[in-house]
């Protein structure tokens, strides 16, 4: 099948990528751009390991055909840190032990960041609901939930300091 060009913004940089229609956005990220932070788990939209943001919304990149990403803005786990400084959610995951094997972590981080953008003071229940499409087979989720709680409090405190 004929190759085609897909224009997509990934982590703030415009990319012009050569691909085939039957490849996925996940393939584009990992194979064309070597952004291997985003993982493939089930490949069928159940596990959430491949979660990235498209135009700010979390989606399963394994279920997006590469050409469907045309003109969209994609954020992967590699795009969360700013100026070489980890995102507060990433720091909290490290401090609270919110990961073990690490395969689900990039997707978890993306879902957590998406939640905290729309809800700065999430309850435990809304945190659990926000990550319900991200499966973790190691942690039992408690430390992930705690890490997101810690991150939300710290981000709120930082925002309060910044506004003074």
């Amino acid at each position: 099948m004929a190759k085609m060009i897909v224009n997509v913004e990934v982590n703030g940089e415009l990319q012009e990528l050569l691909t085939e229609p039957h490849r996925t956005l996940l393939d584009l990220l990992r194979d064309n751009l070597s952004l291997t932070g985003t993982k493939e788990g089930c490949g069928s939209g159940d596990c959430g390991a491949c979660t990235v943001l498209i135009d700010g919304r979390p989606v399963n990149s394994c279920l997006v055909l590469a050409p469907e990403a045309e003109g969209r803005r994609v954020t992967t786990v590699e795009g969360l840190a700013e100026d070489n400084k980890l995102h507060p959610v990433q720091t909290a995951f490290i401090e609270e032990g919110g990961l073990q094997c690490g395969i689900c972590t990039p997707g978890m981080l993306i879902s957590a960041v998406a939640l905290l953008r729309s809800n700065t003071e999430p309850s435990e229940q809304s945190i659990r609901y926000a990550i319900s499409g991200n499966l973790c087979r190691c942690t039992g989720y408690d430390k992930i939930v705690r890490a997101i709680e810690v991150a939300s409090k710290r981000m709120k405190a930082n925002a309060a300091i910044a506004s003074h």
Binding site: M1, M4, E20, P21, H22, R23, T24, G43, S44, G45, D46, G48, T51, I54, R57, P58, V59, N60, C62, L63, V64, L65, P67, E68, E70, S111, A114, Y129, A130, S132, G133, N134
Partner: protein, 289 residues
């Protein structure tokens, strides 16, 4: 996935022209959350894919009194769930769309796709049938409208004809003194598929009697099913606990469940009784305001 030709037309007219020109073996792509899984795992090998991505005017969710709610077939489940008019006027649609998959799936998947995929357990189908939704279908012969109640013909099968595309789902204006409710049963709270589900929708007359009742059962037949015996039992009567119990029992006899890995036939019948009772009770409460 196997290779296929990919088309991303900029208009509906162009989309249906491609379908006519290319003929059988094509699939229409909206959100892709069902189609890609079928292409990866279930041996679906389309010769070509027509993506609705670039088609203008298919992602809208609009409400206008007198015209009802119009959901474009490319609007995501999230677009529908977060729409203020849908939240205010059609809570039953929000309830059901919010149960489909995860946030990630809701951000990609569409109500249109949930309907066209025609799974007997599709969560958005029973409420839309109960509300009397109309589907606007387009082909190169022009548009036609079909009540959604007549759309489902079997598991994965619909009344869509070769070369036809779902363009819009139209839900009539909310009626005064009406109420609806949807509930499904799943062993897990999230990321699961209904073992059985029920949608109830009622309109009450000024004297408090039921003037209109729709009870639609999901995942207990090859398509969503009308619980006609239960509906007939309600109309013209003042709702009471006893009447609701009787209607719930009648709904069980309208169900045609199978036994599979999600649940046995008898368990599904039990669920239909419980889910009909609960949804009917809530629908009547909300109709009474």
């Amino acid at each position: 996935m196997r290779a296929f030709a990919y088309h991303a037309p900029a208009s509906l007219a162009e989309a249906v022209a491609i379908l006519r020109r290319e003929g059988p073996g094509g699939r229409v792509l909206a959100g892709g959350t069902d189609l890609l899984v079928q292409m990866k795992e279930r041996g679906t090998v389309p010769r070509y894919v027509v993506s609705l991505r670039a088609v203008a005017d298919l992602s809208h969710v609009t409400f206008q009194t007198g015209r009802g709610l119009v959901i474009g077939s490319r609007a995501s489940l999230t677009d529908v769930i977060t729409n203020r008019d849908v939240r205010e006027r059609y809570p039953i649609i929000v309830e059901s769309a919010g149960l489909v998959g995860s946030h990630q799936i809701q951000n990609l998947g569409t109500v249109g796709g949930n309907i066209c995929n025609a799974s007997p357990s599709a969560d958005t189908a029973p409420p839309l049938i109960a509300l009397g939704a109309i589907l606007r279908l387009h082909s190169d012969q022009g548009p036609r409208e079909l009540p959604i109640a007549e759309f489902f013909t079997g598991p994965g099968r619909t009344a869509l004809e070769e070369g036809e595309v779902l363009a819009e789902i139209i839900v009539p204006d909310p009626q005064p003194h009406s109420g609806g409710s949807y509930e499904r049963y799943t062993p897990r709270q999230e990321m699961d598929i209904a073992v059985a589900s029920a949608a109830s929708f009622v309109i009450l007359a000024p004297d408090g009697t039921v003037s209109h009742a729709k009870i639609i059962l999901g995942a207990v037949g090859p398509t969503p099913l009308h619980a006609r015996a239960a509906e007939a039992m309600l109309v013209g009567k003042i709702p009471s606990g006893g009447l609701i119990e009787a209607a719930a029992s009648a709904a069980v006899s309208d169900a045609r469940p199978i036994s599979d890995q999600r649940g046995s036939e008898s368990y599904r019948r039990h669920l239909i009784n419980v889910l009909t009772r609960r949804t009917l009770t809530r629908a009547i409460e909300s109709a009474r305001g």
